[in-house]
């Protein structure tokens, strides 16, 4: 593979994996403290899928791109070398915030994997097909709850609408192109963040209106994560995630 393709491709996959890992980590925080037991279980399932998908991508980076062992890559880097978006690193917050984020994020993932399942980079296309089968259920879960809490009472309606408004700028910022994306587009590897975002906006708009939400105002996307610029929330998360592993990264855990 030529360097001008390899560089953006590996950065693209690393960014995807970092997002998945941080999102899965956040979602796992609901295990044991959810609003009803069934939601503890659902968020734990989604989290396992996401962390598992991240693992698969780090494995691909190790085998085909010469990256270090997935545990080293995931558990020892600091925020400057992490490319996850501000959307996923925001604290879990209350259930309304987590749910709105889950809906926006997983719908984007579903569309992303649909695109990537046709990628000219075969190993990625293969993974995307597998992941797509998992994310279908995430989206189904998110949609069910987004709808039923908008159908609930005045409190749940108000809470969900304000959660949507709050999360939206972060969600817009999760479509952050890697440097050299035009090469990925030209090579038929990925159609690009902008195309993906358009498809996502269309679906989000139609679905929110159907369920009785007002569309959030178009806000300035919160960008920067893809370049290693993060909020104050990521480094503490990484410190926690690596706390045991970093006691002795050469040990077998």
């Amino acid at each position: 593979m030529q360097d001008n393709i390899k560089q953006p491709l590996q950065q693209f996959m690393l960014q995807l994996a970092d997002n998945l890992l941080v999102m899965g980590h956040r979602n796992s925080e609901w295990t044991g403290i959810g609003p009803i037991i069934e939601e503890d279980i659902a968020f734990a399932s989604i989290a396992q899928d996401q962390v598992g998908q991240a693992w698969n991508l780090y494995q691909l980076l190790e085998s085909n791109f010469g990256f270090a062992h997935p545990d080293q890559v995931a558990f020892t880097r600091n925020e400057k070398e992490f490319y996850s978006s501000h959307l996923v690193e925001q604290p879990t917050g209350e259930y309304d915030f987590s749910l709105a984020r889950h809906y926006f994020y997983d719908l984007a993932q579903l569309l992303r994997y649909e695109m990537l399942s046709h990628s000219s980079y075969e190993p990625l296309a293969k993974l995307a097909k597998k992941f797509h089968g998992e994310v279908k259920y995430h989206v189904f879960h998110a949609q069910t709850w987004m709808k039923q809490l908008m159908d609930g009472n005045e409190v749940s309606k108000a809470r969900m609408q304000s959660a949507v408004n709050e999360v939206f700028p972060f969600a817009l910022g999760a479509f952050e192109s890697v440097e050299g994306e035009e090469v990925l587009i030209a090579e038929g590897i990925f159609e690009g963040e902008s195309t993906l975002k358009d498809a996502w906006m269309q679906q989000v708009g139609a679905q929110l209106l159907e369920w009785g939400y007002s569309l959030p105002q178009l806000a300035q996307p919160v960008l920067g994560g893809g370049k290693g610029y993060h909020s104050e929330f990521l480094q503490p998360l990484l410190d926690e995630m690596g706390e045991v592993f970093r006691l002795d990264p050469s040990a077998e855990w």
């Binding site: 925080e29 044991g32 403290i33 009803i36 037991i37 279980i41 558990f75 809490l149 040990a251």
Partner: protein, 327 residues
């Protein structure tokens, strides 16, 4: 997972106010190995004791998710992180199954959870101890789950259909928990000096709570006899403790680890193990709410219930009727 030696209640049983003919038929069915189903006739004491027991079991799953749950975000490496997520998720799934089983006896999940957070219902004492390090998670996963299996396998032979069916599924999943806990312990035991020390210290911390796990020595009271005849209580606390010790102490020693009990010794003639009597005053203090973490555990649960209330309220519809789950 669940601590045996369910707590309290036996002294409050009302003896024999049931219809003697129905009671005789009921006891004959149990003696013949029949399962009792929710709509069947049952003595009031049977119902009361089962609700108490299944409810305590369910609460133990919910509270038991807390000490390990806080380590999901710190588990070292993908394998451990994914395994721990799945394991704690299973525990919440067990709670769901068990609350449903208890609901078939006439108490709603909401009423049970209210009794948990207002301190009226108990949960296994073992979850009132802290998990200081990653090695505590390994010891919990192997030995607390191992002890829970001893108790649950016994109870899965009981007489109440919904509880037995829930337990069969739970035991199946717990056997995987045991494997992940054992795998985790083996990696630490065969790892670096730091890992071994961490593990030994955790084991020292957990030994006494594990000896407390099955509850105090049984006094074969009238009630215990009755509960055993009704197949509500399936094994004595002492027998379960013996079984646990004989299964796990040799495996612990095999790994080159030690236990903080100089009296631990197997009698080669009887096969019985001798061990130092744990401090039962401490056990009763922890039950009374004076353990290291009782207040914190309940506070976390209470906060979770309060934070989630708006979600549950939003799901309620005016025309909804309460239905007892299938179990």
């Amino acid at each position: 997972m669940y601590g045996g030696g369910y707590i309290g209640g036996e002294e409050t049983l009302q003896t024999n106010q049931d219809d003697p003919i129905a009671l005789a038929e009921f006891e004959a069915r149990i003696a013949a190995g029949d399962k009792i189903e929710p709509k069947d006739w049952m003595p009031a004491d049977y119902r009361k004791q089962l609700v108490r027991m299944i409810e305590q079991h369910a609460h133990s799953e919910v509270i038991g998710a807390l000490p390990e749950g806080t380590w999901i975000t710190r588990a070292p490496g993908f394998r451990r992180k994914l395994a721990l997520m799945a394991k704690v998720q299973d525990e919440m799934g067990h709670a769901q199954l068990l609350y449903s089983a208890a609901e078939t006896l006439g108490k709603s999940r909401e009423a049970m959870i209210n009794d948990l957070i207002n301190g009226k219902s108990k949960y296994s004492n073992v979850f009132n101890y802290p998990a200081f390090t990653w090695a505590d998670v390994a010891v919990i996963g192997w030995l607390v789950d191992g002890a829970a299996i001893v108790n649950q396998v016994a109870n899965s032979k009981g007489s109440y259909g919904p509880y037995v069916r829930a337990l069969e599924r739970i035991c199946y999943e717990e056997s995987f928990h045991l494997k992940q806990g054992h795998d985790n312990v083996v990696f630490l035991a065969t790892g670096t000096e730091m890992q071994r020390t961490m593990l030994q210290e955790a084991l020292n911390r957990w030994w006494q709570p594990l000896m407390h796990f099955f509850g105090p020595s049984d006094t074969m009271s009238v009630h215990t006899e009755k509960l055993m005849r009704w197949k509500v209580k399936m094994a004595s606390n002492d027998d379960m403790r013996q079984q646990f010790i004989s299964m796990y102490v040799p495996k612990i020693w095999e790994l080159g680890l030690t236990l903080p009990d100089n009296e631990l010794k197997r009698n080669p003639l009887t096969g019985k193990w001798a061990f130092a009597d744990p401090d039962w005053n401490l056990f009763f203090e922890v039950i009374k709410g004076n353990g290291p973490l009782n207040k914190e555990r309940l506070a976390v649960r209470r906060t979770a219930e309060e934070r989630g209330r708006w979600v549950r309220e939003a799901l309620l519809k005016a025309d909804m009727k309460y239905t007892v789950p299938f179990a």
